[in-house]
Amino acid sequence: MHSILAVDDSASMRQMVSFTLKNAGFNVVEAVDGQDAWDKAGKADFDLVLTDQNMPRMDGISLTRKLRENPRFKSTPILILTTESSDQMKQAGRAAGATGWLVKPFDPSKLIEVIGKVIR
C-alpha cells in the first residue's frame, strides 16, 4: 500500500483529503503544517507528499525545499495544493523542486486522478 503525507492546516480539508485517499486505498499520514510534516517525514518514508501552500510555521514551498535537501525525498513526488494558480506561484513551486500543483478547490475524483499519474 502506498503511503501519502497529507499536509494542510485546515482540519476539514485534511479530513476530506485523507478520507478520499484512504477510500482509494492509500495509507495516509496527516500533518497540520509544514513543520509538522517535516518532523513526520523524518520518521517515515512516503510515496507522495501532498501539501497546502499557505500554512503557519512553514509553508508548502519551504517544506518542498527542505524535503528535497534530504536524499530520501530526492525523487518523491511532491504536489502543492494552492488556491492561486498564478505563474508566479508555479515558478516558486518549480524552483523549490515540487513535482506539480493542484488548484483548490478540487473535487475528490480530481485528486485521485492526479495522484494516479504519479503513483501506480
Partner: protein, 715 residues
C-alpha cells in the same frame, strides 16, 4: 467510482459525500472567524505588524478554501473579497484604516450568519452586497482609480479583476453549484478586446469571478481566462458576445486545476496536460512515471532498489517502511460532550466504589493484609488521578468567554459615545465547560452594565479629572476550590444615598444603618434599576436579579464593592466544577453532613463560657476578638438524638457571602472528595441544603448550603 460531471453539485465527488466533512468545516471556520475578529480588534492601525496581518489573511484564506471545496458559494465569495483586501494589506500595498477594520469585522459577522444559515438556523439569505461593494471600493481606493479606464497596465488590471468578483448571493439553495470554467477567447486581431470581459464581470455582480490564466499574455492572439460562476453556460456566452464575437469564444469546464512541471521528479509522461488545474514540473523529482521524452528525469519516485536483492528487480519501488506512520495522526481529537460526561459519570461511580473499599479496608488488620492495604492506597491515588484527568477534559479556559467582550465593548462604546478600554487578566484560568456556558450570559450582562451605567461620557470623565477613556477590567483567578471572576470599572460607582432613596421609593425595607454590602446588594433586587433613564443597551432593571439568580444556581455567589466616583467591582465566585467537590464531613448525632471544604475556615473545641446568648434567642461565640453567630445544626435539621449524655462541642467556622458563622457539630469525620448529586432533580429543593452525596459506606449525606446558613444567622 462514478464519473461525476464537472457540473455536478459540489458536495458530490468521486462518490464521496462531502457533507460528512461539513461539521468539521463549520467548527473550523467558526474558530478562524473568532481568531480573525480578535486579531482585528487588537490590531494597531498605525503600526500593524506583518505577523498579525499574515495571520488574519490566513484565517480568511482558510475559510475560503474550505467554503469553495465544500460548495458554500456565498461564504467563498465574501472571504475571497476579504482575502483580496487582506492580501494587499500584508503586502503593504495598502495602509490599514479603521474603515477597513470595520468592514472586515462586519464581514466576519455576515460570514458567521451565512455559516449559521448553512447549518440550518435561519433561512433568510444574508445580504452581503453592500459589504462586497465597500470592500471592493477599499481595495481599489488604494489603487487610486475607481472606474479607471480600461487600458490600464496589465498588472493593475490583474489585481482589479481579482478584486472584481461578484456576489453570488444565491437565495434559494443551500449548496449552490459553483463551476470553474476555462474561457478561451480568440484568436483575436486585438487580444485587448478580451479585457472588456473583465469589465463585464465587474459590472454584473452576480456573474462570478474571472481571472487570467495566461498572466495577461495572449498567445497567438488567444487569451485563456478562468471563470468561477453559477451562471449557466449559455447565458454566460450570451453576455460575453457583447464584447467578443461568438465564434471566438469557447467555454470548457475547468477540470479543477492541477498541473505537472515538465521534467519534474515524478511528473507524468505527458509534460503539460491541457488541464490548467494541476501540473508537474519538468525534471522535478517524483513526477509521474513513464517513458517520457525527458529521459533526464531520474527513475521517478523510486528509492533506488538495492541490486543485491535480485528478486526485487521486478518491483522498482521498494516498499517504504511505514509502521511509524500510522501513529502519527493529528494532535487533537474532537469528541462529543456526551461521551465525556459519560466518562465523568463512570469515574464518579468509581470514586464511590473506591471510597467504600477504603472504608471496608480500614476494618482489616493491616499487619495481616499488608498487600491489600497498599493496594487500596494505590487505588485511592490512582482513582484520584484518573478523576482529575477526566475532569480536566471538560475544563476550558476563561478566554472563551472573555474573547467575546472586546468586540461587544467596542460596539457598545461606539453606540453610547463613550471611550472604553478592556483589560483582561487570567484568561488561561480553566473552568468546567458547563459552568462556562452558564456564566457567559450573566458576565455579558455585568460587562454591559459597567459600560452603560458605570463608565461616564468622555466629557464628564475629563470634568472629574479622570482620563477620557474608561477602563473595564475582567479578572479570573483561582481562590481555593473556587474561581473568582471580577468585573471592575473605573466609572462613577454606586451611590449609597441614591440606592437607599430608590429603595424607599420602591417600598423596600431599608434603613440608614445598613452596611454598604447590603446597600449595594439592593441592585440585585427584582425590578431595581438605578439608571435614571432606560437605555436600549442595558435592560430596564430586570437583569441584575436574574444575574444573581443564575450565579447562585451555579453554586456561586456575587459581591459588590464600590467607591462613589471611582468605580465598582462585581466579584463572582463560582465552584470549579459542578460535579465534584472537596468536602468536610461532620457528624451530628447519628447523621453525617458535608460542608464544602472551600467554605471551612477553622474548627475548634468549645470551651465552657465561650458561647454567649444575646438579645433573647441569638447565640454568639467569640473567636479571636470577633463575634460570630452560632448555628446549632442539631436544631436546624431537627436531628433526633438518643444519647443525651453527649452534646455537640465542636465548632466549625464557615465563611460565605462575605459573612461568617460557627456551626455546632459533634465531630469532624474527615475530608474527602465527593460526587455531587442534585437533590432538586431527584427529590425537591430543601432549605439550607445544596445537594447530596453517597458516602463510602453507602449512606446518603446532605451537602449543606453554607451561604443559606450564614444568611439565616444574620436574621
Amino acid at each position: 467510482m462514478g464519473e461525476p460531471s464537472p457540473h455536478s453539485a459540489a458536495s458530490q465527488g468521486a462518490g464521496i459525500d462531502l457533507s460528512q466533512f461539513f461539521q468539521v468545516f463549520f467548527e473550523e471556520a467558526g474558530e478562524n472567524l473568532e481568531r480573525m475578529e480578535q486579531m482585528l480588534l487588537a490590531i494597531d492601525i498605525e503600526a500593524a505588524d506583518e505577523e498579525t496581518l499574515n495571520a488574519i489573511f490566513r484565517c480568511a484564506h482558510s475559510v475560503k478554501g474550505g467554503a469553495a471545496t465544500f460548495g458554500f458559494a456565498d461564504v467563498a465569495e465574501l472571504t475571497h473579497q476579504m482575502e483580496t483586501l487582506l492580501d494587499k494589506l500584508r503586502r503593504h500595498e495598502l495602509q490599514p484604516t479603521t474603515a477597513m477594520v470595520d468592514v472586515l469585522l462586519e464581514s466576519g459577522d455576515a460570514l458567521k450568519a451565512q455559516l449559521a444559515r448553512h447549518q440550518g438556523s435561519g433561512d433568510d439569505p444574508i445580504e452581503t452586497e453592500a459589504l462586497l461593494r465597500t470592500i471592493r471600493a477599499l481595495v481599489e481606493g488604494g489603487e487610486g482609480g475607481v472606474g479607471a479606464p480600461l487600458a490600464r497596465p496589465l498588472a493593475v488590471q490583474d489585481a482589479v479583476s481579482r478584486g472584481a468578483c461578484a456576489s453570488v448571493s444565491s437565495p434559494a439553495p443551500i449548496v449552490t453549484t459553483v463551476r470553474a470554467l476555462v474561457l478561451t477567447v480568440g484568436p483575436l486581431a486585438d487580444p485587448r478586446q478580451a479585457e472588456n470581459l473583465f469589465e463585464l464581470f465587474r459590472e454584473i455582480p452576480d456573474l462570478g469571478t474571472i481571472e487570467p490564466l495566461d498572466g495577461g499574455q495572449a498567445i497567438d492572439g488567444v487569451r485563456r481566462l478562468r471563470i468561477v460562476t453559477t451562471t449557466p453556460d449559455a447565458e454566460l456566452i450570451d453576455l460575453c458576445t457583447f464584447h467578443v464575437a461568438r465564434e471566438a469564444l469557447r467555454l470548457e469546464p475547468a477540470t479543477e486545476g492541477y498541473g505537472f512541471h515538465a521534467g519534474a521528479p515524478g511528473a507524468p509522461p505527458e509534460p503539460d496536460p491541457p488541464d490548467p488545474g494541476y501540473g508537474f514540473f519538468e525534471n522535478a523529482p517524483g513526477g509521474p512515471q513513464g517513458q517520457g521524452d525527458e529521459a533526464v528525469a531520474p527513475a521517478p519516485a523510486a528509492v533506488a532498489a538495492p541490486p543485491v536483492v535480485p528478486g526485487a528487480a521486478s518491483t522498482p519501488r521498494t516498499a517504504p517502511s511505514r509502521p511509524a506512520a500510522s501513529g502519527a495522526e493529528s494532535s487533537t481529537l474532537r469528541v462529543s460532550v456526551e461521551k465525556v460526561d459519560q466518562l465523568i459519570n463512570l469515574v464518579g461511580e468509581l470514586v464511590i466504589t473506591q471510597a467504600m473499599l477504603a472504608q471496608t479496608g480500614k476494618g482489616v488488620d493491616t499487619a495481616l493484609y499488608q498487600q491489600l492495604a497498599s493496594g487500596l492506597a494505590d487505588l485511592e491515588r490512582n482513582t484520584r488521578d484518573l478523576q482529575e484527568a477526566v475532569m480536566s477534559i471538560r475544563m476550558i479556559p476563561m478566554s472563551v468567554v472573555f474573547n467575546r467582550f472586546p468586540r461587544m465593548l467596542r460596539d457598545l462604546a461606539g453606540k453610547l459615545g463613550k471611550k472604553v478600554e478592556l483589560v483582561t487578566q487570567g484568561e488561561a484560568t480553566e473552568l468546567d465547560k458547563g459552568v462556562i456556558e452558564k456564566i457567559t450570559d450573566p458576565l455579558t450582562h455585568l460587562v454591559r452594565n459597567s459600560c452603560d451605567h458605570g463608565i461616564e461620557l468622555p466629557a464628564e470623565r475629563l470634568a472629574r479629572g479622570k482620563p477620557e477613556t474608561g477602563i473595564v477590567t475582567l479578572v479570573a483567578s483561582h481562590q481555593g476550590g473556587s474561581i473568582v471572576i471580577e468585573v471592575r470599572d473605573d466609572g462613577k460607582g454606586l451611590s449609597r444615598r441614591k440606592l437607599l432613596a430608590k429603595a424607599r421609593e420602591r417600598g423596600l425595607d431599608v434603613h440608614d444603618g445598613m452596611s454598604d454590602q447590603d446597600v449595594y446588594g439592593l441592585i440585585f433586587a427584582p425590578g431595581f434599576s438605578t439608571a435614571s433613564e432606560v437605555t436600549d443597551v442595558s435592560g430596564r432593571g430586570v437583569g441584575m436579579d436574574v444575574v444573581k439568580k443564575n450565579i447562585v444556581a451555579l453554586g456561586g455567589s456575587v459581591e459588590i464593592d464600590s467607591a462613589e466616583g471611582h468605580g465598582m467591582t462585581v466579584r463572582v465566585r463560582l465552584p470549579l466544577t459542578l460535579a465534584i467537590m472537596d468536602g468536610m464531613s461532620v457528624g451530628v448525632a447519628d447523621e453525617c453532613y458535608i460542608l464544602p471544604l472551600s467554605s471551612v475556615v477553622e474548627s475548634f473545641q468549645v470551651q465552657p463560657g465561650m458561647i454567649r446568648t444575646i438579645g433573647g434567642s441569638g447565640r454568639v461565640v467569640e473567636v479571636r476578638d470577633e463575634y460570630m453567630p452560632v448555628i446549632d445544626l442539631e436544631r436546624v435539621f431537627d436531628v433526633p438524638r438518643f444519647d443525651f449524655e453527649k452534646a455537640a462541642d465542636i465548632m466549625v467556622v464557615v465563611e460565605a457571602e462575605g459573612g461568617r458563622a460557627a456551626l455546632l457539630v459533634d465531630e469532624l469525620i474527615g475530608q474527602q472528595q465527593i460526587v455531587v448529586k442534585n437533590l432538586e432533580a431527584n427529590y425537591r429543593r430543601v432549605d439550607d441544603v445544596s445537594g447530596a452525596t453517597i458516602l463510602g459506606d453507602g449512606r446518603v449525606a446532605l451537602i449543606l448550603d453554607v451561604g443559606a446558613l450564614v444568611r439565616r444567622s444574620r436574621h
